[in-house]
Symmetry: C2
Subunit: 343 residues, 2 copies
DNA sequence: CTGTTAGCGCATTCAC
DNA sequence: GTGAATGCGCTAACAG
């Protein structure tokens, strides 16, 4: 019986409704309440009492205490997320996708913002202490992340990151496919004289996109100029100008990202070269505040789908399925706009 | 004693370390472990035993189970967040700020993505079932949000949203101050012939920025053209062109946001009007992929500070402090770049 | 068909 | 100084 008042502890300011309150109101036992509310009552509890329980629960506004249930089940239905993506302008879509997919299975996201490997370890520790059922690590922008001590205590996934040792399960955008698709956009429009402005080699994405690009070129038996450029509008402006003023101007340029593409388009405008009339341009990222504005054909980053896939994998692993090491590639959507013209 | 094996329940796949394990390893009682690890041991537990406990805890990798603690304390140290901001490109900073400030006080964010009033109520219910200590509602982009039934069960704050009934505590950007500052940027540079391109009146921000603008103009005893424009680059392009081709061209234009400003600058370029030489332009939002690129002077959105303030207020409320109804205005940072020139 | 019991892991009395 | 007992709210097993 819990009729005795709390012993010596500070009295709760405003006690919440518990299953005991519902049981008393419905004139049944707590087990009956649990049975009814969890759908295990049929053939066990009389229809009459079932109704009484439901009515009482509703009237009282009873909400089963998930903390108590978690303690008992040794399962919190909580997914821990360590991320840096909320800071940046993009990538929030991963959180959105993850949240939504998780909610569909009655799971919630416990989010920690962290930057730097040291803090990551602490963050994971904090999440583990909260008894999260699984872990998602999303440091942002396809970086490398080497799992440490704490990672591995529960099922865990790397999101938009790769494990250099190849032991972890990673969900990443298909950069090779994206690079291939970007180039294919130009190839399929009949272009053969193509230049590629790549990002910085330090970034994982750069090499992969380049590989996809080369694959596409090899499919048509062609070759093209590859220029290490950078990620910013200035870089695109500089290299774009050089390309357009040079001896043999390409008819199409594949850019490292949309900012670079914007720079190229600006250079073209200055040089009096019409896009897409005389020059076709392809970007990457589908940057929300650039690509649509510039009517730029580009390759999107499937952030939301990545978040969804990560949660799906994680939930399966929590359910006991084995987590395969390696990378799960999420296809990058091709966004066709008006900056490419057939020739 | 818990020496008897679990009764009939599915055995935990990999039992975690509990305080009992630590106690046994250190040769003391569980209470001793609790006392030591919570800093209540001095003068109660021998230094020798204290050391033994700490050593054992470290060696075993003991992490106190926060779920159990939450159940006992009736306090989860969890802050529920209902938001839509992760979807959009901006506003993620609010989550970042909130996460960081919360973490400083050993609190974590439980995030639910929701759009639409109906789902909000459900989301809050789910969060309440998780026994969150407080609630933050951040529907995004300064909209109106009327608290429903569930809101109010625990301390709650509206973030980047206002309560039309004025009952809730809201944390919002100081839009009046921002509008004032934007105009002041031009006024202080000596401009008197100023045009204002406002956003759509349906948005709360529009009216407030306008009020700030008018306040600034009244300070110098001036008046100016106010033109309802919109939020996009096209709108800026259209209205900018009209203004520049018109009879008396202004020397400065305050824009609804950075996208509109970009449109205006584009119109200026087309009309052969030099910015800032012949025309000064001010934007709003400090849009990360526009403002810096265009060297645009603008007013920032203090997203991160807002998230921080919301958590601070919430934690204070959870600690027992009264939550004052009304709006807490977070100052909007003035970002001076090169698009304004003195005349 | 119902009510009682036990225990999830923790912190806190209160006897020893 | 320490250890046994208690209860947070819940559910599953078991005895009535």
């Amino acid at each position: 019986m819990r009729t005795t008042p709390g012993t010596g502890r500070a009295a709760p300011t405003n006690r919440r409704i518990t299953s005991y309150d519902v049981a008393r109101a419905a004139g049944v036992s707590r087990s009956a309440v649990s049975l009814v509310l969890n759908g295990r009552a049929d053939g066990v509890i009389s229809a009459e009492n079932q109704h009484a329980v439901r009515a009482a629960a509703k009237r009282l506004g009873y909400r089963p205490n998930r903390v108590a249930r978690s303690l008992r089940d040794r399962r919190t239905h909580l997914l821990g997320v360590v991320t840096d993506v909320t800071s940046g302008p993009y990538g929030g879509g991963m959180i959105t996708g993850a949240t939504i997919r998780a909610a569909e299975s009655d799971h919630l996201l416990l989010v920690m913002d962290a930057r730097g490997r040291q803090q990551d370890e602490e963050a994971i520790g904090a999440l583990l202490a909260r008894q999260v059922d699984g872990l998602i690590i999303a440091p942002g922008s396809l970086c490398e992340w080497r799992p440490g001590e704490a990672f591995g205590q529960v099922p865990g996934i790397l999101l938009d990151a790769t494990d250099p040792d190849g032991r972890a399960t990673c969900v990443v955008s298909d950069e090779v496919g994206g690079g291939h698709a970007a180039t294919r956009l130009l190839l399929d429009a009949g272009h053969r004289d193509i230049a590629l402005l790549t990002g910085l080699p330090a970034q994982v994405a750069t090499g992969r996109r380049l590989a996809g690009h080369e694959l596409a070129m090899s499919e048509v038996g062609g070759a093209c100029r590859v220029i290490t450029c950078g990620w910013d509008i200035d870089d695109g402006l500089r290299e774009g100008a050089r390309l357009l003023d040079g001896p043999d101007r390409p008819t199409g340029i594949v850019c490292a990202n949309d900012r670079v593409a914007a720079g190229v388009m600006l250079a073209a405008a200055r040089a009096g070269v019409d896009v897409p009339g005389e020059l076709s341009v392809v970007g990457y990222d589908d940057d929300p505040s650039i690509a649509a504005q510039l009517d730029l054909s580009t390759i999107g980053l499937p952030h939301r789908a990545m978040g969804e896939r990560a949660v799906e994998l994680l939930l399966a692993a929590i359910a006991g399925q084995r987590l395969e090491p390696g990378e799960l590639l999420v296809p990058a959507p091709v966004v066709e706009r008006g900056s490419v013209r057939a020739r």
